[in-house]
Amino acid sequence: MSLLTQYAFLIVPIVKIAILVFIVLTVDAYLTWIERKVVAHIQSRWGPHRVGPHGLLQPLADGVKFIFKEDPLPANVDKVAYFLAPFLALMLALTSLAVIPFGPQRFTVLGYQTGIGIADVDISLLVLFSITALAVYGVALAGWASNNKYSLLGGLRSSAQMISYELALTLSVVGVLLVAGSFSLREIIEHQANGHLGLLGWNIFGFTKDGVGFTQIIGFFCFYIAAIAETNRVPFDLPEAESELVAGFHTEYASMKFAMFFIAEYTSMITISCLATILFFGGWLSPFPASWTFTHYVPSLLLIPLGLWVIFDGMRYETIFGRIVLPGVGTVLVAIGAGLIVFPVVNEAIQGVFWFLAKVFTFLFIYVWMRGTLPRFRYDQLMSFGWKFLLPVSIANVVLTSAVVLWRMH
Amino acid sequence: MVPTNYYLILSAILFGLGIVGFVFKRNIIAIFMAIELMLNAVNLAFVAFSQSFGKVDGEVFVLFVIVVAAAEATVGLGIIILTARNRRSLNVERVDLLKL
């Protein structure tokens, strides 16, 4: 046993990494399902509903397809850059999840004290920005390596867009840094914890406990818009849209390499949503004041009706498979909800993680909602918006926030 | 911990490799990259000394060196683009109009 405790500093993070990568890849897969269903319903159609009940096995079918598809190597590509680009994109997207704290608890396992989140560094926000800065290479190298003029143009456009909006992204967060006084994401969340006012202590409203707070609403809008441009999503997805430059920088990529770009895009969506909740919406903090302890039953209050609805829907489903699986899933949800009421210890432990995940899924839903609703920008409109509007507004936000913080400190 | 000398020797090696690259490469962009390598080697020496003496001045200088390198890369690459368009080649031996 002493060997385990001696190397606990190595074993525990590795186990956490394995769990996190598994969870994130599953969430990515089901995020594609959510996106297709939501965009379909916005467009008054059904989306995938044949493969499994309500199309729930569609991501599995897509994964199997990616594995079995032919993976051609185009002629005259630059082999180093061609193989490096998707690998780089995926590695950077997954690494950025290492510094995000998912919950407040600190616990000790095998004599090693740790929290919910893989690494807890003092400069976690700077680490995230470093990884975002390096993510440009995945796109640029993919465009260059493909030996195809459309890919090259798409790659150049996309990387120029990413570095332009990276400035606005970084500057819009400086307001939060001024208010919180630290780069560590955990401390930024702790700073927003105002016990009486709950929701109003978050950075978006700015009534923090020590009085040195200012509403970061301009910063939030600049951050979210710049983040959507960073992740190449609608309405900023001209470089990779299907009706434009063929498919942009990932034209010449098939099966597994294309899947890597795909997963990298969805993982960076998840990272940006996590960042938006941590920086502006209080991370794992509950929106209700701490004195309202009856709000600790909100998770159960959401899970039990959801489970009952899934059971009810499953009983009337068309296929037999659906009539077995859906009530099963619904029963599990009801059981978890009831279990949370019966075991208050577990209920307390999952409060932070529940609110964090709820907010992250809200932001992911907004991402998907925008995909279904908005048309895309033309490239010159996109660049002039980033440089001529977003960057000056972010700088103005920094100046305004620093003036207010200085005034309030006296 | 790691002795300071190790960092300084590594800095000297990187600087030497930068000089070799600067002298022997013919592509102007590769020469520029060798210059950046030399600047990085100097940064390493700055940070090593800063940590070794316990003062933060060296790290502040590193920030200035990085900023100057950024400005230099911007203007230098602009000049390179213009020269390459004029002389239709990225080889430094082709830029020889003033040669006797």
Binding site: V80, I123, L126, V127, F129, T132, A133, L134, V136, Y137, A140, W144, S159, A160, I163, E166 | M1, V2, P3, N5, I9, L10, A12, I13, F15, G16, L17, G18, V20, V23, F24, R26, N27, I29, A30, M33, E36, L37, N40, L44, V47, Q51, S52, V56, D57, E59, V60, L63, F64, I66, V67, V68, A69, A70, T74, I80, I81, A84, L90, N91
Partner: protein
């Protein structure tokens, strides 16, 4: 062989291999990729020494902006393989050993200087951003303002260079 020494040798080997690859590669894009590897290795070394803010700035500015500029220029100019031009054999046979000899001499001088200059080892204590910024804005405020002016001049220069001749 402590953990710190192992990490140092791994990162140092990565940096040296990256710089040799920078010199040896014939395509400029591969040289650029090697330089990025060198910069990330150096950022790791800065972290090992405890300079966390400098490491982050190195990756964000050097690796994420300056090298992106290099990669853009290489892609725009479609820089291909280096031409093979006539090359003085004397330069290769006398030059490279001379450069290595000079480097070795400097390295030996540094290694032997530990007796006369009793510099303490890197402490490994983390330098907080706060100490760095206190110094930057009090003692070094003039160089700071001058560098911001320098960046403005560089931006103007780049815009002037990029204009088309009318």
């Amino acid at each position: 062989m402590t953990g710190a020494l192992v990490i140092f040798f791994v990162l140092a080997a990565l940096a040296v291999v990256g710089s040799i690859s920078l010199i040896v590669q014939r395509e400029p894009i591969h040289s650029a990729l090697s330089l990025i590897v060198v910069m990330v290795a150096l950022a790791g070394l800065y972290l090992l020494m405890g300079a966390e803010f400098v490491a982050a700035v190195q990756i964000i500015v050097y690796g994420g902006a300056i090298m992106v500029l290099f990669v853009f220029v290489i892609m725009l100019l479609n820089a291909g393989e280096e031409e093979r031009t006539n090359f003085s054999k004397l330069a290769t046979f006398a030059g490279i050993p001379l450069a290595l000899a000079v480097t070795g001499f400097i390295a030996a001088a540094i290694a032997h200087s530990s007796a006369s200059l009793p510099a303490p080892e890197p402490s490994g204590a983390l330098t907080s951003t706060k100490t760095l910024s206190m110094l930057l804005f009090s003692d070094f405020v003039y160089p700071f303002e001058l560098t911001s002016f320098l960046i403005l001049v560089a931006i103007l220069g780049a815009i002037v260079l990029a204009q088309r001749e009318n």
